[in-house]
């Protein structure tokens, strides 16, 4: 790197990152070699590294993308986008553009420090100025329609399992909450940080993407004796009790991460995201007896224990019967039906509350269901097992839906989704 380059960089990057120039220049060289330099530089900087000194910071780089098995923070801004690019190389440029921005956002840094009196729009929209990284995670994925786009020439790269979800009984999917060529899942401790991230990624890609649908969500984790408990959904039931443990490498391998030969090679170490915008009919639910509510889920509301048991994590015994010979856990309860299949998924559920539904005045509230699995069939099998019988169907309506192939993690010097282009 020449001395002139260094002066240029001094102006462009924050002081915090300045400390790392020496280390970064090696990565910078790798980046230029892989052809990323010009794109990143066009945005005003070309050094982008995880700032491990930043407060409340999740790493961007790694074997897997963040936001999949990372502990879910309190807020999500989920965005589904359509692409406007006209060629595969333009799509690559988009991902190359996003990579350093995502790194900076996850560092809690502004995309550019402001200089006063600017005659151009600021490169960062600025509403997260002064806030820290807030454990921001950004998860990028590609929807089935991306592979249908003939201009992009990606049809041969499409995994067989990446297709729009089938129609399930009682689905009422609305086009305005469905599908998308790409997704960005932004999760953070602070809703302003999550929103800021998506807004700035979409804005930097102006003319290359358009927003198809978005949804905010939140989750509130009770803490008892400093131990985090399983959060409750808006029906007051604990949500995520049976999740596999991110600490179990075998669970993650079995449930979440695509392994060699599971899918297209470019998806190895990636995962499939399923999103469902599920309206919960709170008014109807709130008129249901506690017994009816518990029979619907198959669990006790307060403790989260399977009906007839005491504790949330007690073994589920679907054959257990009460004194009259009736099963403790009704066969048509949500839990009993879901347990009929051996498939498992990694759930990251968020509640949403988005005002009222115009024509009915009912709460537009419910569950922004997000799950990760190495194959969308895991979700589909569970959803089919629930089928028409699920007692919960009375109280919910699925109104939004999407499935996205979330790329494997990004290595330093590479860029989001690179394997999609460079590996079969």
């Amino acid at each position: 790197m020449t001395s002139t380059d260094e002066k240029w960089l001094e102006k462009k990057i924050s002081r915090r990152n300045m400390l790392k120039i020496t280390g970064a220049s090696a990565a910078g060289a790798a980046v230029f070699a892989s052809g990323m330099g010009p794109v990143a530089k066009a945005f005003g900087f070309d050094i982008f590294e995880d700032d491990l000194t930043a407060a409340n910071k999740i790493s961007f780089y790694g074997k897997h993308q963040s936001g999949i098995v990372t502990e879910a923070p309190a807020h999500v801004y989920f965005a589904s986008l359509n692409v406007l690019v006209q060629s595969q190389s333009e799509l690559q440029e988009l991902f190359k553009l996003w990579t350093p921005l995502a790194v900076r956002l996850m560092n809690g840094e502004q995309l550019e420090e402001l200089s006063h009196g600017g005659f151009t729009p600021p490169k960062d929209t600025g509403e997260a100025k002064g806030l820290d990284a807030a454990n921001l995670t950004l998860t990028f994925g590609a929807g089935p329609s991306l592979f249908d786009n003939n201009k992009l020439g990606l049809s041969s790269k499409r995994p067989d399992e990446l297709k729009d979800l089938p129609h399930f009984p009682k689905d009422q999917i609305e086009e305005k909450y469905a599908g998308g060529d790409l997704c960005i899942q932004a999760c953070a401790d602070d809703p302003q940080v999550a929103f800021h991230a998506v807004r700035n990624l979409v804005r930097a890609a102006s003319g290359k993407v358009s927003l198809k649908w978005t949804q905010t969500g939140f989750t509130s984790t009770p803490k008892a004796k400093n131990k985090k408990e399983t959060p409750r959904n808006l029906f007051a039931f604990k949500d995520g009790t049976v999740n596999p443990s991110p600490k179990s490498a075998s669970d993650m391998k079995e449930v979440v991460w695509v392994q060699p030969n599971d899918s297209k090679s470019w998806m190895v170490n990636g995962s499939y995201l399923v999103v469902r915008r599920i309206q919960m009919h709170l008014e109807t639910w709130d008129r249901t007896s506690l017994q009816g509510q518990e029979a619907t889920f198959g669990r006790h509301r307060d403790s989260g224990a399977p009906i007839g048991s005491k504790k949330e994590f007690d073994e589920v015994d679907l054959d257990a019967k009460d004194d009259s010979g009736n099963p403790h856990i009704p066969a048509n309860s949500h839990m009993a039906l879901a347990r009929k299949v051996k498939d498992r998924i990694m759930r990251r559920g968020f509640s949403y509350s988005s005002g009222l539904i115009d024509d009915t005045g009912a709460y537009d509230a419910g569950l922004l269901f997000i799950s990760f699995q190495k194959n969308p069939d895991q979700f589909i099998n569970i959803q089919n097992a629930l089928g028409r019988a699920d007692k919960l169907n009375e109280y919910i309506t699925h109104r939004g839906s999407g499935v996205f192939a979330c790329f494997p993690g990004i290595q330093k010097g590479s860029y989001i989704g690179e394997k999609l282009f460079n590996i079969l």
Copy 2:
């Protein structure tokens, strides 16, 4: 209180409150004397006191309602409601019903401890179980239409200044975000706690009220050196810099709290709430130069300082000129216009981000503007001064509006809004 009564109470109330039975019984007696007992008791308990030992707890009782000059927490769930009651006494019963529920909610308590196997719906919807009070505040107010309702016989109680806000230039108020007979402003550190509060109050009043419109909002407060800074809105500008200080009794008296002879006597120590759902056209804003953005507000974006000054709280000098003789702060900037009037208000701004607008795909995002003032004219005068000239008009559209007379604070043994019925 008889021994039988005490046994009944032991079953009904949480252990935490049990410790206070002796103290509470005196209040209980006062309550029975004022005729509240039967209503409250019908809901299953009749002891309701601020639990000063609860974590993150704001007092319910006091000279003023909470949520007006209380430091704004990160989340709001604002609800506008219409009443379905048919008489003034039914309206009174509604407020009597809400009073003990509001106290319990603000204590972070469940409305009822669950007993398993209940054949009736649980009295608490339960999603806040395990969460603490989260600094919940509940602010109740009455809109102009409440006084137009002949069945309620309140027309003589209507303050002259309580009327629908006039049409301001460029307003595009939508009926679905306008007006309401009553409002509940629920603010909390946790969105689930705020939503839970409104949901449970509305549910307990089933058949007596219906939701007209609701809006969630959030605000993110940067902390530098452990000192809280002024939060930024979605245009990245600091919002609330010129707020009067709740610590200044004279400011509060001058700006916020209704004084004797200011309004109807029942409003003394109350305040008027103005709410505006203001869409911010982020896409247009984000194409505007920094200079243009700063000229729009009259302040520097990063520091919040008046243009030409260095620090957020520097004195504003509208006559200051640059070397070419042009005013630092443009005459049509939001700040310069707002300063033309001497009126002041107490702002509590929240950002909102509610997906996309169906027909345009633009962000349905902006500012849930809430202000408190002792007379709505303070807001009206400022808004009129902004008028057509305000440079900010290019970037915002007011889509929702409401004005509510927020009752004075509630004394133990009394109930929400009691003065409305008992004082001229």
